[in-house]
Symmetry: C2
Subunit: 397 residues, 2 copies
C-alpha cells in the first residue's frame, strides 16, 4: 500500500505540467494506492487497486465494523457483483443482506428511499448497521441517502462499479434523490467510511459507458490540471479500450484532484463550486431534451459551451473551447449539441438549477485549460442575454 | 444581553447543590440570556428572553441572513404566532411564506416531509432559503428535517412554542420523522442557526401541557443536577401556574444542562446517551398503550421505573425512585403506570427501540438523584428477566 494523502496542494490555476501519475508512484504494475479525503470532522480513505472488491469483507472489518451489513445494489449490478460478494461475506462470517432495486435514474426517488429504509427496519437493522452501496452513481446517491437518514445516520461504504462513480461521484459525500422537479433536490452530505475503488470491475463496461465516465476526468483536468488534460487526450484510445493500468492511473489522479477540492470545502460554500464547471449548461441540456442525452455527453457539451461563454465574456483564454472540444471528441463524446435544441427552454432550465441563488445564474468559468477564473467566490454572474445569444448561435437559430 | 457559555463543566455525577439560576445571573427581572451550544464544527446560540419572538425579523437578519424565509407551522400555531410574525416579516421587508400542516404527531411523516419539500420547490426556494420552525416538538423535528435535506441542507431557525420544545427538543440538532414502525426512525442531525426561546409564548398553554414539558426538566435534574431537581420540586406549583420568571429560569437551566451534554457529544456516541434516561421504558409504555399516554407522562413513569430498575440491580442508591416519584407527582405527572399494562408487550417494545444494538437492550441508570452511573459508555446491558420482573411487579401481575 502506497499512502498518498492529498497533502500536496492542487490549487486551481496552479495545475500545470503534471502528467498522470507523475507524483512519484505509480508507474510500475498497479499496486494499492490510498488517497485520504479530509472532511469537516476527520477524513476517509479512497482505496484504489485492481481486484480490491474481492477483499470487501476484510475492508469492512477494518473501516466499518458493524453488527450487520446491508448491500444495496440495482438489478443490473446485484447478479454481477452483489451475489458473489454475499458469498464472500458469508464465508468471512459477516452477517449481510442484499437489497436490490430496479436499475435506472427513475428509481433515485423518495419512494425507493422510503422502501429501502422500510426494508432495513423490517430486517431489524439498528444503529450498528452499515450500508454498502454497490453500483454506479444512482446506487451511491440513493443508498448513501438511506444511510444518511436511517436513525439519523448510519455508516455507508461506497463501492463504485461504474467508471463515473469511481472517478467522481463516490468521492465527496454527496447523497440524495431526485424529485419530479429536478435532480438531486433532496439529499444530505454523508461522507463514506471508505471508498473501495476496484478499476477491474470497469473492464467489462461497454466502451460507450467508459466514455461517459471519462467526461468527469476531462473536467478535473480542465479546471485543475492542464498536464492531466493533455495526458487524458494522449491516452484517450487506451482508456476507451479499457486498459487496466491507464484506468487505474486515471482513477487515482481524478480522486486526488476531486478529493483535494472537497477536502477544502466539504459543503459547497466556496471552492467546491468549481466542480460545477460545465454542469449548469449540462443540466439545462438534459432538462431541455427530457434527459435524452446521457450525463457524460451533456457534461462534455456543457464544458465546451461554458468555455465558449467564458471566451465571449473575455474571461477565458481564446482557443480553450476549441481545445476542450478536441479532447472530448478524442474521448468519443460530443462537442456540438444535437440540432434543434430550444435555446429559450435551455435558458429557462438554467434558472431552475439549484445553483441559482436569488434569481441570478452563476457560472464557473475557466481562465484557460487547467485553470478556473477566481471570479467572485469562483463564479461569475452571467446575464441571461449572453447565455441566450451563445445558445442561439450554437443551435444555429 | 448576558452572555452565558456552557463553558462551566456540568459533568454527570458532579451535579450537586446548584439551584436554578445560582450561576450569578439571573435573579432580577428576566433579561436576555444567551447559551452557546457547541457543535462539531462551531456553535449556535439559544437566546432566551420574554417577548423575544417579536424580534424575529431582527434575529433572522443577524443569524440567518437569507434571500427568502419559509415559516413552517402547524394548524394550531400558525393562526396564533405564524400570521402575526408574517406581518412582522413584511413590515421588516423580509420576504417570507407561511407553510402550514395539520397539527398532530401523525403528520410527522415522510409524506408531510415530502409535501413541504415540494412546496418549497414550487415556490422556487434555492440554497439561500431559510426554514423557520415555529411550533412544538413535531414542528421542530419535521421542519428541521425538511431543512436538513432540502438541496442537501439549508439553514433552519428553531422557534419553540411549547414548553417541552423550549426546554429540550429545540436544542441538540436532532430532526426527523416517524415511520409506521416507530418514532424518529428517519432523520438527520442538523443544528439550527439560532434557537429563539420566548418563555412568554408558553404563558397561554394549558396547565397540563406545561406539566408535560416539565418532565424533561425533571430529567435534566435527575441525571445532572440534584440542586436543580430540588428547585423544580420546590417551584413545581409556581411553574405549573405559568409564572414567567420561574419558567424563564427553568428554560435557562435546562438549556444549559442539555446544551452542555450535546455540545460534548453531538452524535450520541457517548455522553449524549444519558439524555435517554427514562426514555427506553417511556417509549415502551407509549408503544404498548398505542400512544394513549402523553410523552411527558410516559417520561415521568419511565424515569421512576428505570430508577427502580437501577435500585434492583444495586446500581442506583435506594430511595432514588421514591424521590423521583415525589418530584413528578409535584409536577402533576403520574408516578405509577396505569393498571393493566401488558408487561410482555412492553418488554418486546424495548427491543424494537433504536437504542438496541446487536439485540441487547441498554439502559441509562442513575447512581443517585442528579448523577448518572458511568456503566460502560454511560449505559448498562440489562437482562430481559430483570425488566420483565420489574414490569410484572409494577403492573400488579
Amino acid at each position: 500500500v502506497t499512502g498518498r494523502s492529498v497533502g500536496e496542494p492542487v490549487s486551481p490555476g496552479v495545475g500545470g505540467d503534471r502528467v498522470i501519475g507523475a507524483r512519484g508512484a505509480p508507474s510500475g504494475p498497479p499496486e494499492e494506492v490510498r488517497v485520504e479525503v479530509p472532511t469537516g470532522t476527520g477524513s476517509y480513505p479512497v482505496r484504489i487497486a485492481p481486484g480490491l472488491l474481492r477483499s470487501l469483507p476484510t475492508l469492512l472489518r477494518e473501516h466499518a465494523a458493524g453488527h450487520r451489513y446491508a448491500l444495496i445494489s440495482d438489478s443490473n449490478v446485484a447478479p454481477l457483483h452483489g451475489e458473489p460478494l454475499m458469498r464472500a461475506m458469508e464465508a468471512a462470517g459477516l452477517p449481510a443482506i442484499l437489497l436490490t432495486f430496479p436499475a435506472g435514474e427513475a428509481q433515485k426517488s423518495r419512494e425507493w428511499w422510503g422502501r429501502l429504509t422500510d426494508r432495513l427496519l423490517e430486517e431489524g437493522f439498528g444503529r450498528d448497521g452499515v450500508v454498502v452501496a454497490l453500483g454506479g452513481g444512482v446506487t451511491g446517491d440513493l443508498a448513501g441517502f438511506v444511510a444518511a437518514t436511517y436513525m439519523r445516520g448510519i455508516p455507508v461504504v461506497q463501492c463504485p462499479t461504474s467508471l463515473v462513480a469511481m472517478i467522481d461521484a463516490s468521492v465527496g459525500g454527496k447523497t440524495g434523490v431526485d424529485t419530479p422537479v429536478g435532480k438531486n433536490l433532496v439529499g444530505a452530505f454523508h461522507p463514506p467510511r471508505v471508498v473501495v475503488a476496484d478499476p477491474e470491475v470497469t473492464a467489462t463496461l461497454p466502451r460507450q459507458e467508459r466514455a461517459q465516465g471519462l467526461a468527469e476526468a476531462v473536467k478535473h483536468g480542465a479546471i485543475l490540471d492542464r498536464g492531466y488534460l493533455d495526458a487524458l487526450r494522449r491516452e484517450a484510445g487506451t482508456l476507451l479500450d479499457g486498459d487496466p493500468q491507464a484506468t487505474w492511473r486515471t482513477v487515482i489522479r481524478s480522486v486526488e484532484l476531486k478529493g483535494d477540492v472537497v477536502g477544502r470545502d466539504e459543503r459547497e460554500g466556496g471552492l467546491r463550486r468549481i466542480l460545477n464547471f460545465g454542469h449548469t449548461l449540462a443540466h439545462a441540456l438534459e432538462q431541455a431534451t427530457g434527459y435524452a442525452i446521457p450525463h457524460g455527453s451533456a457534461v462534455a457539451l456543457g464544458m465546451v459551451l461554458e468555455a465558449r461563454l467564458g471566451e465571449r465574456l473575455g474571461v477565458t483564454a481564446p482557443g480553450t473551447a476549441q481545445l476542450l472540444a478536441e479532447v472530448v471528441q478524442e474521448m468519443e463524446l460530443p462537442a456540438v449539441p444535437p440540432a434543434g435544441i430550444d435555446a429559450e427552454a435551455m435558458l429557462a432550465a438554467t434558472r431552475s438549477d439549484k445553483k441559482g441563488e436569488g434569481g441570478v445564474v452563476r457560472y464557473v468559468l475557466l481562465r484557460g485549460a487547467g485553470e478556473v477564473d477566481p471570479g467572485q467566490g469562483w463564479v461569475h454572474a452571467v446575464p441571461d442575454r449572453e447565455v441566450l445569444s451563445l445558445l442561439r448561435e450554437t443551435s444555429g437559430a
